[in-house]
């Protein structure tokens, strides 16, 4: 699930960069940042040297997403961001990232608030950083039901771990919960109110 997410997030980021008229370097940066930025911020918050700078697997998955996105969009003049396959992969990635983030937070002994923050940032931090580089208000702050599933996943994981469920099962259950909420939001058009 994590690998699917890395590919999908990198593809979305690269396409966003291409649409914004960035050069090749900018498109690649946006792709990698969208895929790896959330986990990197999470690692900084819990005091780890980011895995993205040490392991090659994540980087290769992200590179695959960038190459795929650039190839499709240059070859077919097409923006696959609305395609069901990419939207679904993106939801899978959000679920995997938020659940992994929650697991890291629980392992580090953070408070409920801390677990929710790292779960959410792992899920939506990369996309938000790439929005900021393009001088846009992060999409998750204004619209859609995208960060809320990650928040809920963080709370869910904290409670589940608190009642004694073992770490692997907690992460899997939290990922399922996030995915269900995100797919529900896509299917039924859920939104949060503005005030």
């Amino acid at each position: 699930m994590n690998a699917v997410g890395l590919v999908a997030f990198a593809a979305v980021g690269a396409l966003k960069g291409r649409e914004a008229g960035l050069d090749l370097f900018g498109v690649v940066v946006l792709g990698f940042l969208t895929a790896l930025g959330g986990g990197t911020v999470r690692d900084l918050l819990v005091g780890r040297v980011p895995t993205s700078l040490q392991s090659d697997v994540e980087v290769l998955a992200a590179a695959l997403g960038v190459v795929f996105a650039v190839a499709v969009s240059v070859r077919y003049g097409d923006d696959p961001r609305e395609s069901p396959a990419l939207v679904l992969s993106d939801a899978v990635g959000l679920a995997a990232f938020a659940a992994t983030g929650a697991a890291v937070g629980i392992e580090t002994g953070l408070s409920l608030f801390g677990v929710v923050v790292v779960a959410t940032l792992t899920g939506v931090g990369g996309g938000s950083l790439s929005d900021l580089l393009l001088v846009r208000v992060p999409a998750v702050l204004q619209e859609d039901f995208y960060a809320t599933p990650a928040v809920a996943g963080g709370v869910f994981a904290w409670v589940t771990a608190g009642v004694g469920v073992e770490a692997g099962a907690t992460t899997l259950l939290a990922a399922m919960a996030v995915l269900a909420l995100r797919l529900g939001a896509l299917r039924f058009g859920w939104r949060l109110p503005t005030l």
Copy 2:
């Protein structure tokens, strides 16, 4: 003083988010970020896991500020950011945050420059990050006499600690100095020149 600041900063951030048309998630994020962002950046710079992710007290104070701000502004259709009570609480918060930041910097053994940077970021970092999320040039960079008291407080704390004043007294004196400067700026309309 710190608690007053957390409530006031969170209220200001939430109101800024509401005014910008963010959804409920965005408003809550802006509130928490404004209150807790400066201290979080400071903790990252000195190599600590942020207290905001570990302790519940700060989070509860910030939550109180968000709820208060949303309640007042939705109920009375009113933006209390100009109200004397909130402006004064905000000045108290700036003083408490800058002085605490200076204390952490001194304790970590930073240089004068380092102490000034962490004092200032603790005071104005949260508000500046929330400006950036809204795609605005941070207000402290262009107007008003808001960051300057925090800078002065950092220098003051460094000198005071350097001549042997004990840590608690240094922090209290620095907070008083920042508060005096900020209130003076509000009262007499001090501004820095542009060049």
Copy 3:
């Protein structure tokens, strides 16, 4: 070379801030951030308390750049950013910063990707952060052949260190490579394609 870079980067940052109409505090922040921001982000990524907050030498060099820039631009009403001396010093700084960044990454045991990221961020991170504070898409993402030499320097240093060249020589060779590429770009107008 590092000192030349700090002075040049700080001057460029301060001039950018002045042009954007920031007040004195904002101009000083932009200058210091442009000079010290890249190294600070690098230190955070590899888990060190930033040298910029501990050592006075870097800060003095940056202060010199800010004072010089403000003095020249206020005195002569002139923006020296296009002057050959400043453009050349800036290229020297990019080379020194990227090579130092690569050395820190190699020393920390990062992957090839990690070394490239910290080399590039050390070189272009300060300027990009100051672009973000001014609500501009970082120049390196859209134009010019500025980040690419830093990327190439990171790869070059990683390969050179990998074949057993000793650390000091690796850093010097990498700096030469970055400088050659950057001067070539300035001389021949190299650009990356948009897609």
